[in-house]
């Protein structure tokens, strides 16, 4: 192969092939996608997230929750996700139509969060989990996010928002831990993570199985 131009043309050709397949075509196909009307409720899906949750998505992105948490549920034939109660169906492109950017994730050091709102039973406890995961789940490897909270001197009346921390995680006497607005918006975002509607390309089998709400072997924080 001593022909410079030939090599150049070849490289250009292979490049174009891949560009057509994975850039041009998907941009055309997926770029057209719009919210769809749901059969049962005739609501549009997905709906844009409310403002606070939108801000929470930014906190989620900025702090790289995606490095440990995925947001894509696999089909039953591809893994145990459904059996673990992480979602009733496969995640599809329609689900992240309003996520900028979608945080699909590649590695699960923590559980999948695509439908985490279905497992957030106690929001106060969820805030404690963000402040100090090990206060909720023993031996958790999730990092604490103390910078989303404020430790302040208790005023004349203790704040109603203060976290109910005990033991090693409690602040020094006379102080309280209060969530900053970032913590609330992150919580709002987590509460908005739910994609359990039946779609044409990803139907949920009827009659509905008891998958929703069963928390088999996940680490949904449990009040201890």
């Amino acid at each position: 192969m001593n022909q410079g131009p030939l090599i150049f043309v070849g490289i250009f050709f292979t490049m174009t092939l891949s560009w057509y397949g994975f850039v041009f075509k998907p941009t055309l196909d997926l770029g057209q996608q719009a919210p769809v009307k749901l059969e049962e409720t005739s609501q549009l899906y997905p709906a844009a997230r409310p403002g606070l949750a939108q801000q929470g998505a930014e906190i989620y992105r900025a702090n790289g929750c995606v490095t440990c948490h995925s947001q894509q549920v696999r089909d039953a034939k591809d893994g145990s996700d459904k059996a673990r109660g992480w979602g009733a169906r496969l995640t599809v492109a329609q689900d992240y139509l309003f996520d900028h950017p979608p945080q699909l994730g590649q590695v699960r050091i923590g559980p999948d969060l695509a439908n985490v709102s279905t497992r957030l039973f106690d929001l106060k406890n969820q805030l404690i989990h963000l402040y100090a995961p090990r206060a909720v789940v023993k031996g958790s490897s999730m990092p604490p996010y103390p910078f989303l909270f404020e430790v302040r001197k208790i005023g004349p009346t203790p704040s109603a928002d203060a976290l109910a921390l005990t033991g090693a995680y409690a602040p020094t006497a006379g102080f309280e831990v209060v969530p900053k607005s970032e913590a609330y918006s992150l919580l709002a975002y987590l509460s908005s993570l739910r994609s359990e509607v039946s779609l044409y390309e990803a139907p949920i089998p009827k009659p509905p199985t008891n998958a929703v709400g069963t928390v088999v072997g996940t680490n949904a924080p449990i009040v201890q």
Binding site: I11, A62, V92, P102, V107, D112, S141
Partner: protein, 486 residues
């Protein structure tokens, strides 16, 4: 058919002047811009490895340094990733590439000044990116972490690199195109396309979200598995025959590997993704499996090159980097093909296994090749031996052991974690915790690797000092006392 690297052994000062530019002249003319790039690249590598080390320790002790948002796990990892890929691999890869172009073509770098400006812009881009990521302003996209503000310095910096590389290529006095040149050319053409496409589509914000994972995944995969991989392949094809003092075993295999990889590899990257269109996943699975062919062709080619003609002449010391890199490359090919099959992905999908695979390619092959190439090229640039002899072998050993520890236990841990996760009756945390002893081994690996690169950086500084003293010594102005070149 066997071909040999068409460069003669190093000319000595006494040699008769040859019509074409001599190898040592080529090296001397390129020394300053290249040395700058190498220092910067290794500097980034040290920084990135330290960030990676902190992140790895934090997995075991999550509360460590948790009050600093800049050092939270989810920012350290993207920062480390960006620094390794853009600060180290791309920068050193291009430096080695242009050195090979000018060596093979027997010409000086055309436009050293533009090259220097390009390097400066590139590093400014990476620096802004690094600061942005730690302050939380990152895209959230793997391998495309840096925010929009970095796109211009990176792209313009790269264009200067690319143009200088092409001009140097055009100015070559040896017309023969040795295989290394093909790989390097492919890489140099590929990058501006994919980077411009990704920057335009992903930074502009007008792309529908549903297409983002495909576009960013396509970019990230092409950046590593085509652009960086081809730079490393070009370097391997140059240095393996050169250091082993044997001609390349087969040009045919190289041609086959070159084209088949270019056709097949760009469609990979989605074998372990689920929430994208089915046909994208399907093509990626096929791509991962088919990639095994070129990968084995290349590895086999190198193996046969080194093996031929028995034990003598003895290969030069630097060959070890390349042989281990070749091993990692072959292993990567086999495991990636294996993991892509749906029945196996069921187990290893979303586990540490994926991290191990990525690192096997990025550190085990690309990183190791570039570090090996650098340790060979730097003494030629300065025309001095590495000044601290006692650091040469430890760097090699620590780097290789570090990389093996960073990858193999992670793969193992991931597989164990995956077998647990596949069984829904095993609680998530129980399955995850099983991987942790293995992950701890990889933390040790990162530590060793980091130490090796710190030593290398120190060595580069000492070498620079020596070269400076040497060049400013009156006797050296005659240009005839530069001994010690290998």
């Amino acid at each position: 058919m066997s071909v040999s690297v068409p460069t003669p052994s190093l000319d000595t000062c006494a040699a008769a002047p040859s019509p074409a530019t001599s190898a040592s002249e080529v090296d001397a003319s390129n020394a300053i811009p290249l040395y700058g790039i190498f220092m910067a690249g290794i500097g980034w590598l040290v920084l990135g490895s330290i960030l990676g080390l902190i992140a790895s320790v934090k997995l075991h002790a999550p509360a460590l340094l948790s009050q600093f948002p800049a050092l939270t796990y989810g920012r350290l990892i993207p920062a480390q990733n960006t620094i390794f890929l853009y600060g180290f691999a791309m920068q050193i890869g291009l430096g080695i590439a242009i050195w090979i172009i000018s060596r093979l073509g027997r010409t000086k770098i055309v436009g050293s000044f533009a090259w220097g400006i390009g390097a400066l812009l590139w590093n400014v881009g990476v620096f802004i990116g690094f600061i942005s990521i730690l302050s939380g302003d990152w895209t959230g996209l793997n391998r495309f972490e840096m925010p929009a503000a970095t796109a211009t310095p990176l792209f313009v910096g790269y264009l200067l690199f690319g143009i200088v590389a092409l001009l140097t290529f055009k100015a070559r006095t040896v017309r023969d195109l040795y295989p290394s040149m093909w790989f390097i050319l492919a890489s140099i053409f590929w990058f501006p396309w994919i980077y411009a496409t990704a920057s335009y589509l992903l930074h502009s914000g007008f792309l529908r979200s549903s297409a983002i994972p495909v576009i960013s995944g396509w970019y990230g995969h092409n950046f590593v598995s085509v652009v960086l991989l081809n730079l490393a392949l070009g370097a391997s094809y140059y240095f393996i025959p050169k250091l082993s003092h044997r001609p390349l075993a087969s040009e045919g295999l190289a041609i086959f590997g070159f084209w088949s990889l270019l056709v097949v590899a760009p469609f990979g990257g989605f074998a372990a993704t689920y929430a994208v269109p089915r046909w994208v996943i399907g093509m990626s699975v096929v791509s991962s499996v088919l990639c095994l062919l070129p990968i084995l062709a290349h590895s086999l080619n190198w193996y046969q090159t080194v093996r031929q003609a028995g034990k003598s002449p003895k290969p030069d010391q630097g060959i070890g980097y390349f042989l281990w890199a070749g091993f990692c490359f072959a292993l990567f090919g086999i495991l990636a093909a294996w993991a892509a099959l749906p029945t196996n992905n069921l187990i290893v999908g979303f586990t540490w296994f994926q991290t191990g695979l990525t690192q096997l390619l990025e550190y085990g092959f690309i990183g190791l090749v570039l570090l090996g190439a650098l340790t060979v090229v730097v003494p030629k640039l300065t025309q001095l031996d590495w000044p601290i002899h006692r650091l040469v072998k430890p760097h090699y050993l620590l780097t290789v052991i570090g990389i093996l520890l960073m990858t193999l236990p992670v793969l193992m841990g991931g597989w164990i974690q995956g077998t647990g996760l596949a069984d829904a009756s095993v609680p998530f945390m129980v399955a995850s915790k099983k991987a942790f002893p293995w992950i701890a081994m990889s933390t040790v690996g990162i530590l060793l690797f980091t130490l090796a690169q710190i030593a290398l950086f120190v060595h580069l500084v000492v070498m620079l000092g020596k070269a400076f003293i040497n060049c400013c010594h009156p006797a050296s102005w005659m240009g005839c006392d530069k001994g010690g070149a290998r």
